[in-house]
Symmetry: C2
Subunit: 326 residues, 2 copies
Amino acid sequence: MSRNRQGTLMSVRPDVRVLDCTLRDGGLVNNFAFSDEFVRDLYLANIKAGVDYMEFGYKASAEMFDPSKFGKWKFCNEKDIRNIVGDNKTDLKISVMADVGRTDFKKDILPRKDSVIDMIRVATYINAIPSAIEILEDAKKKGYETTVNIMAVSKVNNDDLEEGLELLAQTSVDVIYLVDSFGVFYPEQIERLCDKYLNVAAKYDKKIGIHAHNNQQLAFANTIEALSRGVSFLDATVSGMGRGAGNCFMELLLNFLKNPRYNKIAIMNFIEKHMLKMKEEEVWGYDIPYLLTGSLNSHPSSAIEFMKQKRTDYAVFYQELIDHVL
Amino acid sequence: MSRNRQGTLMSVRPDVRVLDCTLRDGGLVNNFAFSDEFVRDLYLANIKAGVDYMEFGYKASAEMFDPSKFGKWKFCNEKDIRNIVGDNKTDLKISVMADVGRTDFKKDILPRKDSVIDMIRVATYINAIPSAIEILEDAKKKGYETTVNIMAVSKVNNDDLEEGLELLAQTSVDVIYLVDSFGVFYPEQIERLCDKYLNVAAKYDKKIGIHAHNNQQLAFANTIEALSRGVSFLDATVSGMGRGAGNCFMELLLNFLKNPRYNKIAIMNFIEKHMLKMKEEEVWGYDIPYLLTGSLNSHPSSAIEFMKQKRTDYAVFYQELIDHVL
């Protein structure tokens, strides 16, 4: 079923929720080594900006990953979050992400009454949906809002996707995310995918979210395209900080949204104080190698390596990709 | 009349023409001070890449503008173009832009038989259309292909735009361009504007073109949205080089187009040789001040000045804009 646009460019959509995942996707850029000052200022900026959710990082297993080798936001221990937010007596909700197969969710995700976390987001590949459901139901039973983020959907065949969506929609999950992990989709494709997700959501009273990557300078365009179809949970990061080509820019998204609750200037002040320096130290954002991996529907890791090595031989890289990817 | 999408993401649209305006819009960044080697290599890259038109710059009046104060591509003298292209025995066509009120077109635009130029593009504001028509008819009589580029259309009221389009469509002009000078439009607006332009074009057998700016990281998204509505002339620049936030990236556009005549690698090799260095020396491309001017439907000049002064006080700048623009 094809759907119509929801709302107009001028109207407020009360169902919209903006989620800042700067620490989580940006943490993949700097190994989660954010200073406490950075995190606290981002928290305060998000409150001022009217952002709805702030994701602090991953709930990674400390048995699988050595905590001495990562910043603390890969683990998001309760005491570390509380050190920033206290009891978080604000309108800004807090989320963390749990990767299927990389989290000791039973132990590390506390009952909600003992935590300042509001929402658990479960990231899964299509073939791990049963494991994702186990985490989702555990989190829901503990009292959390939940989302499931099906990654790398550009690699998934249509039958599997439809079956996966149905399976997930029949769980207690609140939000199902369309994730363009490789930055491969054009707005026309986002439109069709959103309609597919939204049609399932409508049957089971679920919300749909979007998480875009900027490999082809389309993260913002795809996010507002999804929004206009009826998607309501919108991921963004400050200055687009995120793995590889990065994400939808928070400042662009808040500028676009017409709800007076959102205040882009609070984010711009944070950028002035922290992100200009961060941008000098770390590498992310649109560049040719990400365009090439994105358009070949390929993981950005080879492009990230290309950038780290300060290579510029794009034609050679393209051949390497074609030889190894297609 | 609302229109349907033309073609699909997989299909070749034989009506599409790609125009490289790196020297012309990029010349507004570096005062047209391109080395001959840069221009020659760009010419060769465009030929290899299958680009359809290469714009060399402006046909500015040497009486109004002091040639000692600008690079030669502000004037595009016949001998300077021939110094690069010889007789241009290639499939790449050559265009120049004439700004209404800033060109001695009667004298400086030679009869086509005496020139290697193939197309004259006339840039006009809505209130100067009669003057634009004078230049267009002169150029057509001399034997050229012609386009008219109505600038700053985001400031034009709907009645004036419809009347202007009708007036222009009744001339001998070949292509009418939708120009988002300030980078203000979202894809939904581009869609509606394209439909308006295309409906007029259909009556008079004209083509429509698009020239986008990247203030909100939407130049590429808006260009392919326009393409999908039926727009056929597509402006782009290498690495998006152009005034302020710059333009639609040529490498993104060629990667998107499915016609095997286009070869993005030729452009990437040019980027490796010339644009990486250019990017270190000159400033253009998406940044917060351009987002602010764009979203306020304001000329980018104040944002360009902000960047030149290396200011980062975005909040103050935003207040200045609101005080002076709205």
